[in-house]
Symmetry: C2
Subunit: 144 residues, 2 copies
């Protein structure tokens, strides 16, 4: 499953979630959603935007990432201390977290089967189930 929504362009995507299509939002949406599934930090996206000659401030990148998350276009992931990752894949899936590189990799939802999930207490509902498989290099020799 690629992008959770299939819009021919960023304009329609923004319109569909009721966000005013400003130049910054359009540019960031293109960077985020036109390259398949991605996991980016605010800092990374800001750097990418600058590299693509898109004038945008870091504060706006943060605001935009949160607006996109609220709109359901992104998922926020907290796996690394003091830093948030934003995932363009909002479907059911899990993650490898590569500790050596601090990068995330998707695991399709059907590749992890969880049985006998305990029920939450009364009056509570499950918001999300996250499975994070932390991996690291095993040998002093780097392959790959």
């Amino acid at each position: 499953m690629e992008s959770n929504r299939t819009y021919s362009n960023a304009l329609d995507l923004l319109k569909s979630v009721g966000l005013r299509p400003t130049r910054q939002r359009l540019s960031l949406a293109r960077l985020l959603f036109e390259r398949g599934d991605r996991h980016v930090t605010a800092e990374q996206l800001h750097s990418e935007a600058l590299a693509a000659r898109v004038r945008v401030s870091l504060a706006t990148v943060y605001n935009t990432l949160h607006q996109f998350t609220s709109a359901g276009l992104l998922n926020e992931l907290v796996v690394d201390s003091g830093r948030s990752y934003f995932d363009t894949n909002t479907g059911h899936h899990h993650h490898f977290f590569h500790e050596n590189t601090s990068t995330l990799e998707d695991i399709p939802g059907d590749q992890v089967r969880i049985d006998s999930l305990p029920a939450p207490a009364e009056g509570r509902e499950i918001s999300r189930v996250e499975v994070i498989i932390r991996v690291r290099d095993e040998a002093p020799r780097t392959s790959d």
Copy 2:
């Protein structure tokens, strides 16, 4: 499930992992390990220490938590943006994360069965598998 190690006192615990038993480390070890399984932030532990009339600085609490983690006495958990939790249970288990209260609750390892875990890439090994079940108060149905 109590502490993963059974030492009659904090002194032996510290000695067993090669940490010099200073007054601060002894006090923090007692606060951490003599009350069953706990999930604390540095700030929380610092407050507890002060409440218990233990003179210790926040910086030392951070240092100590990391030393204990390196020594295998604690597990560091990252589930909440911008804040680390330290878990006195270092055995195989998972967590409920209560979003309303930002608190963690253990789930015994055998209550979550994971099948068909994907293999990590070549040259990589699994460091840890974390399952976090995020729960929140049931949404009040105002309408619809």
